[in-house]
């Protein structure tokens, strides 16, 4: 039960024109015990803080990262573009988020 992964492959950084979506095996949910949104995955739970759940709620595979940043600013709060890209890059590295190619 102890998945040790000494050298996972690092995917490239997420760009403004990528269209992110949740990976098929991942579910976004609200955890009443911790009062946090969480990402559920077969082996891990990612507890989301700050604007994480708002960002992921907009990751539908159609919107680009740039559009998500704009929409966040309009609907919830201004989140710096590079912060959103770093957050999604980290989740892509953990296979929680997939990127639909820019022209896809």
């Amino acid at each position: 039960m102890t998945a040790v992964d000494p050298a996972p492959t690092r995917p490239p950084a997420v760009t403004g024109s990528d269209r992110p979506r949740l990976a098929r095996h991942v579910r976004l949910a609200f955890d009443p015990t911790r009062q946090r949104h969480v990402l559920l995955h077969p082996e891990t739970v990612v507890v989301l803080h700050g604007s994480g759940a708002d960002i992921l709620g907009l990751c539908d595979g159609r919107r680009t990262v740039a559009e998500i940043v704009d929409e966040l600013g309009a609907r919830y709060q201004v989140v710096p573009d590079d912060e959103v890209r770093r957050f999604l890059t980290r989740l892509a590295a953990r296979r929680c988020v997939e990127l639909v190619p820019a022209d896809g």
């Binding site: 039960m1 998945a3 492959t9 095996h25 995955h41 739970v45």
Partner: protein
């Protein structure tokens, strides 16, 4: 103390396979008084209240429980992420459709090797073709598929073919887990422990496959701790993130912990919350206060938590010692000797594997 994230629900230790690397306990007959459906419902609800978000349905073979669909539905209705860990024997299309409708989120199917003769020999029964068929059903019903393969001396040289098979069946993830030596695997350790040359060759293959498949398949590789410098961070710390409920309702920090000389705690006698917070089986090695040196003064004590308590107990007879896998452990020679034997040039034939039985009848049964 934190809330647990995951519940490993070991529904039964009965199994159609007889793998010699199985980590189920040797005394399986002690677990034959299995929890009833209504007891599992209560356990799942108590686990959810405690903060559990993931439910791994395992065993033994969970499909042998006739009420599996009801158990999945109960977990799903509580909002748990449900993961079935199965040999896939008994996963007919009809049963699969029922499980899908009940809300099962993810399926992990084991194979023992990449081709029928070797896989069936290791499984102790004809099963390979049925597994491949079942994987097809999993994919057709739109489930994400993880293929689980336990690696050991008798199949690790085939890891390239195993990866090719996982790719062929359209797996989203493949978990290549080197054997951990508990239960039947501990009994068979000397026949299962690979040589250093075998491991090095396998790691080259795994690294190349990760690079090649990185957009298509997640390749997880669990390293063999006997060959590592530091111990594994077992379970993310004792009773820190996960808990296990055995077929008869015993609650443990991990399935192997049944072997430790700690008082039993059962969901039949106490609420899960009280067990998690206060039962000796949970508190015995929680945190870092229990640690002896070299762990106590080690910079890594919050990284690997002293390694595995069950392994320390198995090898030294004292669960509170540093995991002998660690090169800093005063007992490290116990591991070094096993590794040396696995690499001996003069090694005669491998010891014979002792298959785990499908079930063990209690005396007078």
């Amino acid at each position: 103390m934190d809330s647990p994230f995951g519940l490993l629900a070991e529904l039964t230790y009965r199994c159609p396979l007889a793998c010699a690397y199985c980590s189920n306990p040797l005394n399986m007959a002690d677990y034959s008084d299995e929890l009833a459906t209504h007891e599992w419902r209560r356990v799942l609800a108590e686990a959810r209240d405690l903060g559990v978000l993931q439910c791994h349905l395992s065993g033994g073979e969970p499909l042998l429980r006739r009420d599996l669909v009801e158990i999945v539905a109960a977990a799903h209705d509580l909002g748990l992420y449900t993961n079935l860990v199965t040999s896939a024997l008994g996963l007919s299309r009809e049963r699969a459709e029922e499980l899908r409708a009940a809300g099962l989120d993810h399926v992990q199917v084991s194979i023992q090797a990449d081709e029928p003769a070797v896989s069936d020999r290791i499984a102790g029964t004809r099963s390979f073709r049925r597994k491949i068929e079942a994987m097809g059903v999993v994919r057709e019903l739109g489930w994400p598929l993880t293929v689980n393969v336990v690696l050991h001396r008798q199949n690790i040289d085939r890891v390239a073919d195993v990866l090719a098979l996982a790719e062929d069946v359209g797996a989203d993830r493949v978990e290549l887990a080197n054997t951990q030596y508990y239960g039947w695997a501990w009994r068979n350790r000397d026949a299962l422990l690979p040589s250093r040359a075998q491991l090095e060759a396998a790691e080259v293959v795994v690294r190349a496959a990760r690079e090649r498949l990185r957009d298509r398949m997640d390749v997880i590789y669990v390293i063999p701790d006997y060959y590592s410098r530091y111990p594994k961070p077992c379970m993310g710390g004792w009773a820190a993130r996960q808990l296990t409920v055995t077929p008869n309702g015993d609650v443990l920090p991990c399935p192997a912990a049944q072997s430790l000389p700690l008082p039993r705690a059962s969901v039949r006698e106490e609420p899960l919350e009280r067990i998690w917070t206060g039962a000796p089986v949970m508190t015995a090695f929680r945190g870092t206060d229990w640690m002896p040196d070299p762990c106590r003064s080690c910079d890594r004590r919050e990284l690997d938590f002293g390694g595995c308590r069950c392994q320390a107990f198995q090898l030294t007879g004292d669960a509170a010692r540093t995991d002998p896998v660690c090169h800093l452990s005063p007992d490290h020679d116990l591991v070094a000797r096993a590794v040396e034997a696995a690499n001996a040039q003069s090694r005669d034939e491998d010891p014979r594997l002792v298959p785990r039985p499908h079930r063990v009848r209690a005396l007078g049964d």
